[in-house]
Every structure is written in C-alpha cells, then in structure tokens.
C-alpha cells in the first residue's frame, strides 16, 4: 500500500486522541468515583438507579410516617395506662365500699374520691399530642368530651402509610375507648372500614359508604334503648353489661363512674356491688384497646425493619451500578497512561521522518 505523509499524520493523531479520551474518561471516573454519569453510559442501569432513588426517598418518608404514628400511638398508650390505673383504683374503692363494715360516712368519702377519679379520666380523655386531641377521631381541634361525658368527636381513623400500599391507623376514637361503642361483637355500631381508598374512584365509593355508615350509626344512636339507664336513680346502670337488646358489650366509663359515685353517696350497697362487674369489663375494654395499640406498634416496628433492610439493599444495588471500582479504575488508568506514553514516543519517530532529511 502506498503510504503518504497525511496518512501517518492522521493515524498518529487518531491514536493519541483515542488514548487521551480514554485517559480523560478514566480520570473522571477516579475523580468522581462514578462510572455512570449520563443515562447513555448504561441506560438500563440509569433507569434502575432512578427507580432506586425514588424508592429511597419513599422509604425515608415512610420512616418519618412511622416515627410520627408511633409517637402518637405511644402517647395514647401511656394515657390508656393511666386510665387502667384509675379504673383499678376505682375498683379497689368499690370493693372496699361493698363490704358490710363500711358505713355511710366512709362511703361518702370514697364517693368523693371516685368523683376525683372521674374528673381525672375526663382530663385523660381530652389529652393532646402536640395540638391534636388524642381521642377526638377526625375532630382533632375540638375537645372530645364535655364535662357530662358526652362525646363531641367522631370515629375517624387517621391512617398513616407505613409502606407501599399499606396503612396503619394511628388513633383510637374516644367513643370506643371511653364509651365502649363498637367494642367486641357489637352489631349495633358500624365501625369505620379498615381499607384506605387509593384512587379517586375508590374515594368516591368510600365517601358514599361513609355517608351510609354515618346515617346508620346516627339512627342507632337515636333508637338506643337505655334499658337500665341512669334514669333509675340509685341503681348502677348495667346496660354496659351485654345489652340484651343490642348485644353491645362496651362500657361507658363516664356514666359508670357517675353511677358508682351516686351509689356511694346514697349509701346503696347493692348498687355498689353491681358496679364491680362493669368495672372489670371497663378494664378489659381498656386493655383490649392497649392490645390493639401494641399490635399496631408491632406492625410499625416490623415495617421499620423492612425499610432498613430495603434501604441497605437499595444502596448496595445503586452503588454497584453507578460507582466505579477504584482498584480497577486505577489499574486501567496506569495502563492507559502507559499506552499514551508509548504512542507519543513512537509518534515522534514516525512523524518526523522524511527522505528530505537524508538528502544533503
């Protein structure tokens, strides 16, 4: 083949450029520690990295959500712990007062302590976490219970996302905890649904179902037969024992305390004795709620564990895709360096040679 000067020159230039661009590329990798800097370096890898980043952000958010929900649940739990203590104290007092050795004056004294306990419970029912009432349902900005023990909140459950497609309610509504509505096999009260709407269509259905549910519950409340209510003065209202008509098992803590107070002050021993079983039931009711909280916290804890594991996995996959292997880069870098030196050295010999140099 006939070789001309230009051919040698372009060849030399091309080789040097190739070496230099490889060197620059490797140098960049070594400096940034990344082998993936544009999507075209590795399109599938870049897509995966992007997906991982989004996931990582979501995981961070879920962790925040969980932290937040746990905080709320733990505040609720400690309040319920105090509630249980109060109920136990009330039961002790009731037991003491039920004995024959206790006279009317002592009963009246015990009665005033029971009254104190009732107002303590009222205070608990109106506790807040931050600026939100714990037991008001969705009505977090209004005091859930007035001093007569009437519930002003609703039964809304604030659902917090703990992972993709999964939600945990972080509150217990006051009418369950303190009024016993919808506790146990209560077929008179329709509880809010477990599932959370995730699309606009589901939301529309959800809103319709909620309206139905609200209507039913309202009707139920209006027709609520107070079979043995506080109207029968002096008698402990025992409707909170399994209601023969409605099958409701829940206990209205406030009216229970109220009745006990009345019984003590009227020195009605039978009524005091009648209050013992409902007190146990109330305690059970509170413990049931605490168990529910425990269950939710467990769910959140295991979700946190999952999140941590997934975060680590995510990071290692991302790193595998986009991070440069430093040892490999360094080896290649020194190789490329040697190659460039070699090219430059041979080039200087090839490029300067010419017949004219030898003609004198």
């Amino acid at each position: 083949m006939r070789i001309t000067d230009k051919m040698t020159q372009t060849q030399v230039l091309k080789n040097i450029q190739k070496n230099r661009s490889e060197l620059a590329n490797l140098q960049n990798q070594a400096a940034t520690g990344k082998k993936l800097t544009t999507p075209s370096d590795d399109p599938t890898g870049a897509t995966k990295v992007l997906t991982n980043r989004i996931e990582e952000k979501n995981l961070q958010q879920f962790e925040k959500n969980i932290f937040f929900a746990k905080n709320f649940l733990e505040t609720t739990e400690s309040t319920l712990g105090q509630l249980a203590d109060s109920l136990i104290r009330a039961k002790e007092l009731a037991l003491q007062a039920a004995s024959d050795t206790v006279g009317a004056p002592q009963r009246e004294m015990i009665g005033s302590e029971v009254q104190q306990i009732r107002s303590a419970i009222l205070e608990m029912s109106n506790r807040r976490a931050g600026d939100r009432y714990l037991f008001g349902g969705y009505k977090t900005q209004t005091t859930p219970f007035n001093k007569d023990g009437e519930y002003l909140g609703d039964d809304g459950e604030m659902k917090i996302q703990n992972q993709k497609g999964s939600f945990v309610a972080m509150n217990l509504s006051g009418n369950r905890v303190f009024l016993g509505r919808g506790v146990g096999p209560d077929n008179t009260y329709v509880r809010p649904p477990e599932n959370v709407p995730e699309t606009t269509n589901q939301l529309q259905d959800f809103k319709l179902a909620e309206a139905d549910r609200e209507f039913l519950n309202k009707q139920e409340d209006e027709n609520y037969v107070e079979t043995r209510g506080p109207a029968s003065v002096g008698r402990v209202q025992t409707m909170t024992q399994k209601d023969p008509v409605t099958g409701n098992e829940g206990v209205n803590v406030f009216s229970l305390m109220q009745s006990l107070d009345v019984a003590l002050k009227t020195n009605d021993k039978a009524a005091i004795q009648d209050a013992l079983e409902p007190l146990d039931q109330a305690l059970n009711q509170v413990n049931l709620m605490r168990a529910e909280i425990g269950g939710r916290v467990n769910v959140l804890d295991s979700a946190t564990e999952g999140i941590h594991k997934q975060t680590v996995d995510n990071k290692s996959i991302t790193s595998q895709i986009e991070d440069a292997d430093l040892f490999e880069t360094m080896t290649q870098l020194s190789k490329a360096d040697t190659a460039l030196k070699g090219t430059l050295e041979t080039s200087s010999k090839v490029i300067g040679m010419n017949l004219l140099d030898f003609i004198k």
Binding site: K64, K139, E210
Partner: protein, 471 residues
C-alpha cells in the same frame, strides 16, 4: 543524417520536460495539505522519431499532459460515508443536550421533584391540621411545575439549536452551489481545448462532498461538457450546468424552520423538508421532528396527567374551612395544555388552608384525600393502557433517551472509523507523499542537468565543426 540542431532540440525539450515535472512536483508539495487535492502526474511521451535514410533517430521526449491521480469510486464512497457521518454528528450533539435535560445522575431533576411532591402529601396526611405541612405541599407543587417548565425550556433550546443548524446549513449549501456552478463553467471552458482541469475538478469534487454532508443530493456528470447537475432531495434542482438555484428557510406554524426550494430567483417555492433524510440537515430534521418533539410531548403528558389526577382527587375533598375542594392545578379545559401555563390554583396559592385533605367537612384530622393523592404515585395511570406509574413513565423515557444516545455514540464512533478508512484509501491513491516527490525532484533535477549538458555538448560540437578549417 543526424543534425546537431536536433541534438540541441532534444536537450531543450528534455530541459523543458524536466522543468514541467519539477514544477508539478513542487505543485504537489505545496498542495500537500489542501483538502480534496489529488496528486498530479506528468505524462511524458517519446517525441516522434525522424527518418534518416533507413534508420529512425529518436528526438527526445515531450510532455503529453498532466493528469490527477483520482479514483471516482472512492470519491463517491467518501461522499456517501461523509453524508452518513454528518447525519450522525448533527444528531449526536443535540441528543447529548437532550439527555442532559433528563440526566439526574449528578443533579436533582424531575424525578426528584415528583417524589418530593408526593412525599409532601404524605407529610400532610401525617398532619392535616398543620399549616406548615400545607405550605410545603404548595411549595413542592410549585417546584414540580418549575421543573417541568425547565425541562421544556431545555428541550426547546435543543430545538432552537437544531433549527439553527438547518439555517446555517442552508446558507453553506447556497455558497457551495454557487461555486459549483462557477466551476462547471470554468471546467467546460478549460476542457474544451482537450486538457483536464485538474485543480478545478478537485475543488468541485470537494464541494460536492461538502454538499452531501449537509443534504441529500444526487448528481451526474455530463460527459460531453464535463459539467455536473445536482438535485437536492427528490425535486430541488440546485445546479443545472452553469446556473444555480437557492434553498431558503421558512418558519412553519409550529415555529420550526423548514427548507424551501426555489427554482431560479423568481420561481415557485416548494417545501422539501420532508425529502431530507441524510446529511446534517436530514439528521437535524429527523431528530427535531422525531425524538425531541416526542420527548417534549411526553413531559407535557406527564405533567398533564399528574395535574388532572391530583385535581380529580382534590375536587372530592374538603379543605380546612369545610368547603368542597377546588382544583389543585389550573389546567385549561379546552385541551390546549401547555406546561408553561401550568400553575397551582390561585385560591391555594393565596391560602394553603384551601388544600383539601379531608373526605368530609368538619374533620380537621381526616387525611383520607391526602392519602388518595399520594397513593397516585404508585398507580398505573400512564401509557396507552395504564401500564406505567408516573415514576416508571419518566424513568422509561430517561432510559429511552439513554439508549438512543448510547446507540448514537457507538454509531458515530464506528462511522468515523469507516470514513477514516475510506479517506485512508483515498490518501493512498491521491495523497501526496513527500518521499515520492523528493525522489522525483532528484530524478528530474538530474535529467535537467543531463539535458543541459547535451546542449553544452552540442555547442561544443558546433565549435568543433566551425573550427574544422583551423585544424
């Protein structure tokens, strides 16, 4: 009988031939680096002999012509591969810029903004009563919008650049076309006397190649006149003999630069943009009307779908004031959606309390609607059959551009190699070798010297003859 005179003639012709050859060698050396130059060769032939009785005595040599060493097939190959290369080059640059609009390896981009937008609704779900959470939702929505608009602006600047490529390309084409028509004329007038217009042909070949780098051309040489006729695309006759026609650019209704052909200076204009498939202009048109406008549409679709899905859910909700939710994003109802016009509803901008997180009134702690809105992030609502989530859709587009650019980079690399190879072959045939020219210089210098010596010798012979009497 041989004459001393003819000896003088032989010497003179020898000197003249050598001188021409030396001049050609120096011409070659001087033009060594001129693009498109083909080395030239002197063709020397034997001068007709004269009869001397029964013998014929040689009368030296003469110059029969100077020809260029050139293989038209190789030139044609360079033209084709050069056209392919500039097609790819034109795209590659713009693709890289397009890619950088979607590149989130080092900077935060749309994907990040989408995540933050939905996460701010998660934060709102945690705390629907909080004004801070609501403000963050509004700010992140604005950040998301700004991001979409930025991407659009970057895509638009790629489009502008491609339009500019077309405009400057057309200017260059017009310059080349004029020069080719002039060269046609020159070549015809030179070659009518039977010699080859070497340098003019080299220049014309080069211009044809440059033209092919810009635009689709087909051309043919009229063997009688040596002139070439060039057609751009299918219908744009650029050069016909000695007359040249111009290309023009116009702007269409989408604000895109189109290539228009006009016959003569006052002929009918016709849009030939569709016919351009090769060269830098073909590449620019293909990318602009293909991937770039498609990506612009994709970003627009993504923004529209997010906005309308969020709106649908938001309309179902109730705000802090127990009022039914408004639209979250302002989007036109008549389908003339433009990312640049997208904004958060004024009512919400003024008062974040208007953000609807609840599913019913009088429920400040109700986060149902906030939950629905952030759940949209995981819903498959994009694509023809709802096969992608917003994130997937965006990531897949990033992947698509990545693949395109990766292919373009690899293709460009291999096309460069192909062109280099063909150019090497051309160099091997037509390129100037200094060694060769130096060798020729020595050869002809010696020949020149020798021819001069013949004249001197003839002179001496004359002297001898003239001094016969004195001997």
């Amino acid at each position: 009988m041989a004459k001393i005179h003819s000896l003088l003639d032989v010497g003179r012709r020898g000197m003249s031939v050598s001188q021409s050859a030396m001049q050609t060698a120096s011409h070659n050396i001087a033009n060594k680096s001129v693009e498109g130059f083909s080395r030239q060769r002197v063709d020397i032939e034997t001068n007709p002999a004269v009869g001397e009785g029964k013998d014929r005595v040689g009368t030296g040599s003469r110059l029969s012509g100077i020809t260029r060493t050139n293989n038209p097939w190789i030139e044609k190959q360079i033209e084709r591969e050069g056209s392919n290369l500039s097609f790819m080059e034109g795209r590659s640059n713009a693709l890289q810029r397009l890619e950088s609009a979607f590149n989130e390896q080092t900077v935060k981009g749309t994907s990040n903004a989408m995540s933050e937008f939905f996460n701010s609704f998660r934060e709102l779900a945690n705390n629907p009563e909080s004004l801070t959470a609501r403000t963050v939702v509004r700010d992140n929505a604005n950040a998301l919008i700004k991001n979409f608009q930025d991407v659009h602006r970057q895509i638009d600047s790629v489009t502008d650049e491609l339009n500019n490529t077309i405009k400057t390309g057309v200017n260059e084409i017009n310059g080349h076309v004029k020069e080719i028509a002039q060269l046609n004329e020159k070549i015809q007038s030179i070659e009518i006397s039977g010699v080859t217009a070497n340098d003019e042909r080299d220049r014309r070949d080069l211009l044809v190649k440059k033209l092919a780098e810009k635009i689709d051309i087909s051309w043919a040489e009229d063997t009688k006149s040596g002139m070439i006729n060039i057609t751009a695309g299918k219908t744009g006759v650029l050069v016909a003999g000695t007359s040249a026609s111009e290309l023009k650019t116009s702007t269409n209704e989408n604000n895109q630069t189109q290539v228009v052909y006009q016959l003569g200076s006052s002929g009918k204009e016709s849009d030939i943009t569709e016919q351009l498939k090769h060269g830098a202009l073909g590449g620019a048109v293909e990318l602009r009307d293909g991937l770039v406008s498609q990506m612009r549409q994709n970003v627009s679709d993504l923004a529209y779908n997010i906005a309308s899905e969020v709106n649908n859910a938001h309309l179902e909700g109730f705000d802090r004031y127990n009022k039914q939710g408004t639209e979250f994003f302002d989007i036109p109802k008549d389908g003339t959606f433009d990312v640049q016009d997208l904004k958060v509803n004024d009512a919400i901008t003024r008062d974040v309390g208007r953000i609807a997180a609840a599913s019913k009134p009088n429920a400040p702690g109700d986060n149902t609607v906030a939950n629905v809105i952030h759940s949209l992030q995981f819903k498959k609502v994009m694509g023809d059959e709802g096969t992608f989530t917003f994130d997937d859709y965006y990531s897949s587009k990033v992947g698509e551009i990545g693949v395109m650019n990766q292919k373009s980079i690899a293709g460009l690399e291999s096309q460069k190699n192909i062109l280099d190879q063909v150019k090497n072959v051309r160099e091997s045939v037509s390129g100037v070798s200094l060694d060769e020219e130096a060798q020729k210089m020595i050869e002809y210098q010696k020949a020149y010297e020798a021819s001069a010596r013949i004249i001197k010798m003839a002179d001496e012979m004359f002297d001898t003859v003239l001094n016969l009497k004195r001997l």
